[in-house]
Amino acid sequence: MSLSTQESDENAQYVLYARLDNAKTMANILKAVHFKDTAIIFASENGLKVTVEDCKCVQANAFLQSSLFQEFVIKEEQVTFKINLTVLLECLNIFGASSIPGATTALKMCHEGYGTPLTLLLEENGVLTDCSLKTLEPDETLDFNFLSTNVVNKIITKSECLKAAFSELDLSSDILEILMSPDEPYFRLSTFGNAGSIHSEFPKESDLVESFQCNKTQANRYKISLLKPSVKALMQSTRVSVRTDNRGFLSMQYMIKTEDGQVCFVEFFCCPDEELENDEYS
C-alpha cells in the first residue's frame, strides 16, 4: 500500500517517532507529575523521562518506557527538550478527559529534532486533531546524587497505607516529619500545625508493609508544600517505596498500573528542611 510507504517516508525525517493506542495512558502518568507548567523531556531508546522541578528542592520523574508504546523509534542517542506540560496534557485530553468505554484516543507523536516543534496527531472515532507544540531550550536539571548505596532506610508499602495519611495532611503545618526506624515506632508521619501535632504510625508488621529495611533511626522534615504534589502520583499508584539516604534526602517511587495492565514508575526526590538549632516545633 502506498499509505505504508508514505508513512515510512514520512517517519524518515523524524528523530523521534512514537505511536500509542491509548493516549490516556500517557496523560495519566504525566498528570502525576504535573505540578509545574513546564517539564523537560529526555527521550532515549529506553523511552521517555519527563522531569518536573520546583524550587530547586524537589524533582519528579515520570518514566514512560518504550514498551508502553506500540511503536517507538529514536534515531539519536538522546533527544532533550523542554515543553509546556499543561499544554501537552490539554492536547492529550483534547477529546475529553473522561473515559467513555470503547472510545480510546490514538496518539502519534513526532519530533524532527532540536528547535523543531513536537507534533501530536490524535485520533478518536475517525476524528483527527493535529497539534504542534513549541519545544524550548532545556534547562539543566538537578542531580540529587541519590545513590542506592547510601540509602539508610527503605520501606515498600501498598499505597492505600499512605493515601489517607497524605490526603488528610494538616496543611496548617509547614513541614511533614518522616520518621523511619528499626525500632518502634518504625514508620511515622507527623505534622505540627495550629491545632497541635498529628502522628500517623505504621507498624512494620502491618500487612500493607511489603518490605522493611531500616538500619538507623532517622527523623527528617520536609516542606509540605514541596511534598504535596506527590499526592497526585500516590493516588494513582498501587505501591510506593520510601527511601532516605544518609543526608536525609527523600526518594519516593510510585508504581502505577496503566489501564492496559502495564506498569509505570514515577519518582520524587525531595531535600530535607534545614535542621533547626532549637527544635521549635516539638
Binding site: 489517607a164 495519611a165 494538616d170 495550629n194 497541635g196 502522628h199 500517623s200 507498624p203
Partner: protein
Amino acid sequence: MKCIIPGINVKVFGRAVHSLSKIGEEIYFEPLDDGLALRTVNLSRSAFASFIFRPSFFSIYDDGHATLRNDDDVLKCKIGMKSCLSIFRSLSSLEKSVDRCKITLNMDDCRLVFQLFCRHGIVKTFNLTFIECETLQAVFSKEKCNNVLTAQTRLLCDAVTNFQASQEEVTLIVSKEKVSFKNYIEDEPDLKKVVHTVLDLVPEEFDLFQIDAPADITFCLKELRAVLTFSEAANMPVTMRFDVSGRPIAFCIDSDSTFEGNFLLATLADYSSQSQVTASSQVGLTPQTQGQRSKPSVSAQRSTARRANNGSSKSKTALKNMSKVSVEPPTQSDQGNEDRILPISLLGEPEPQRQDSPTNIEEEGTFVPGTPPGKRFKSLFFGMSQSTTTGSQPSSTQHQVLAADTDDEGD
C-alpha cells in the same frame, strides 16, 4: 480522663462532632460522672447543642474524678471545631478502618489526645491543644414545656426538604388539630414577591403529640438541619419541646440509652400580634463550676422587656443581671443552678404573653399570611440586648461566657 470508643460507636461519635460543627466553632469537652459531654454554642449564642455519651457507650470510661481530690480539678476544656473535625472528617472511612478510638488527657504536655487505632495496625494520634474553660451549659428546663412532639426523623426531614436551601428561618405553628411548618419571611414588604411554603402535618403522624397551648414559633432552619443530619443517620426519633414564641425550643435525641443529644434553639419573639416592642430571648448560658454535673436537665432563662418606653433599660438590666451570675464565685453556686437564675431571669414570674391566640386565628384560615408584620423586626438571634442597639453589642455577645466581658458590658 481516659475513654475508649469501640469501633461500632466511632461513627456515631464522629457524626455527633459533624453535627456540632454545623453550629459552633469550638467544641467543649467535659468528662462527667455519667458520661462524656460534648457541647457547643454558635457565635450569636442563639443555638446550643450538647451530646452526652454515657459510660456504656465506651468500652472503657474513666472520667478521671477518682484520682482527683476535688471535683474542681476535673478538666473542662474546649478545642477548635476544625481540629476536632479533622479527626472524624471522613465518616465512611472511619466506619471501615477504625477499630477503636481512645481519648485521653495528657496533663504534662497539656494536650487532648485522640488516638485512632485503624486496620493494618495503623495508629493515628492527634495531640490537640486546648483551652481550659468553664462548663458550657444552657439553662432550660424540659419539664416546663407545655408542648411536646416526638416524630420520626423521616417525617421532619421530609418536611424540611421542602424549604429552599437559602431559607433561613422556619415557623412552627401548632394547635391541637395540626402542626404546620411555614417559611418565615423577613424584610420583604411585598409578600406577593416571595415563595410561601406551608406544610401541614396531622397529629397521627407523630409518635407523641402533646400540645397544651397552641404556639407559633420561629427558629433557624440551619440548626434544625444540623439536628436532622445526626438523627437521620442514626435513625432516631426527635422530640421537640417548646412553649411560646420567644422561648427556646429543644430538640432531643434520647431514645438510645448510651447517649443523648440536645439542641436548644432560640426562637423569635413575636412582635406582630402584640403591643410589646422588645422581647429578647436567647439561649441562656451560665458558666458553672459545680452542681451541674449530676443534672443533665437544663432550665430556661428568658429576659423580657415589656414596654416600649422602658424596653432598653430593662434589657440592660437583664444583661447586668446575667453578668452577675457569671461572676458569682463557685462557692455560691452550690445550691443549684435554677435557684440562682430565677431572680434575674424573670423565669416564669412575669407570665409570657399568650400572644399565640391572635396569631393563630390569623394563620389558621389562610395558607399565605395575609398581613405583613405590624412592625418590621429583626432576628433576635444576635444577642439579647437588641433594644439597646449599641454598636459594640454584637462583639460583646460573642464572648459572653467569660465573666469579665459581660461584666464590662453591663456597666
